[in-house]
């Protein structure tokens, strides 16, 4: 965790208090969003072949992650003690979230279509890969039936990539203090991109095999 200056403490105390006031509401949003995602993708789940998978995971951002996430959005990564009242965790886009993991990737489009028909007003904010192509569709919005203040997001991720992210997120994106500045170095960044590319290529090859195409060596740009 980032060591904060003592002058930032009043801001952090205020944000912690705000978090726990809103926590029941954040949980309601998470449960509502998960339920809606499950409902609107049930036809995909029911039609899966034996080799296909669809897994839905939901999460609530924990208090310290939320505070750090808001802090990283400030220039210089500092909470200005003179602007105590201007900070709110409700500005974060992802206090509650759902991730839909799919395998193989061909299911992704079907799930995306089913959900975007329901979440029509949600803002598309895709996760990019390589030269700007989309790795995973991601949407942000509010579940106004249960909350008008909590922002939530859902994303649809190729399963192999999603499972890799689970490990990589803790090790690289939020590394232990001793690894800060080392774990996200340029060589690690390249390896990360290479792994994502290899996983996408694996899926492409697998899908080609399932479809009965002739063997090929695919390269995802």
């Amino acid at each position: 965790m980032t060591k904060h200056a003592i002058e930032e403490q009043p801001v952090i105390n205020k944000l912690r208090e705000e978090y726990f006031i809103h926590l029941p509401e954040i949980r309601r949003v998470m449960e509502y969003l998960e339920t809606e995602v499950r409902y609107h993708t049930r036809h995909v789940l029911q039609g899966l072949e034996k080799h296909e998978q669809l897994v839905i995971k939901s999460h609530v951002k924990d208090c310290e992650s939320a505070i750090q996430s808001l802090r990283r959005r400030q220039e210089g990564g500092i909470f200005d003690p003179e602007k105590l009242d201007s900070y709110s965790l409700l500005k974060l886009p992802d206090l509650a979230g759902v991730r839909v993991l799919v395998f193989p990737r061909s299911i992704l489009t079907e799930v995306d279509r089913a959900l975007s028909t329901y979440f029509v007003d949600w803002m598309h904010d895709p996760v990019p890969v390589g030269r700007g192509a989309m790795l995973a569709p991601k949407y942000r919005g509010k579940c106004e039936d249960v909350s008008r203040s909590i922002n939530a997001e859902y994303q649809i991720v190729p399963m192999l990539i999603g499972l890799f992210w689970q490990v990589e997120h803790a090790a690289i994106y939020k590394p232990p203090p001793a690894l800060k500045g080392k774990a996200d170095s340029a060589p690690m960044e390249k390896m990360r991109a290479d792994i994502e590319c290899a996983l996408l290529n694996f899926e492409a090859e697998y899908e080609s095999f399932v479809r009965g195409d002739s063997p090929r060596s695919s390269d995802v740009e």
Binding site: E75, G76, G77, D80, G181
Partner: protein, 76 residues
Amino acid sequence: MKKDILREADYRYNFDRDIYFNRKAKKAFSLEFVDDHREEELREHIQEPTDGSEWRYYFNSDPSEGVKRILEQVLG
């Protein structure tokens, strides 16, 4: 690349605060400032002379006195 320009001028990156800093020159650049300015502008700011008595901050929004105090603690 901007990152290389800063590295060549002996700027280090603070991963907690997302700023590039050089203790000898007593200058600090926010990541946002670096992103929003051209390489040539960055070079000019790196070369700007200072008397070295206090830190100079290159931020998109001028940091308040409170933020400057915290940055001085962080940067040493």
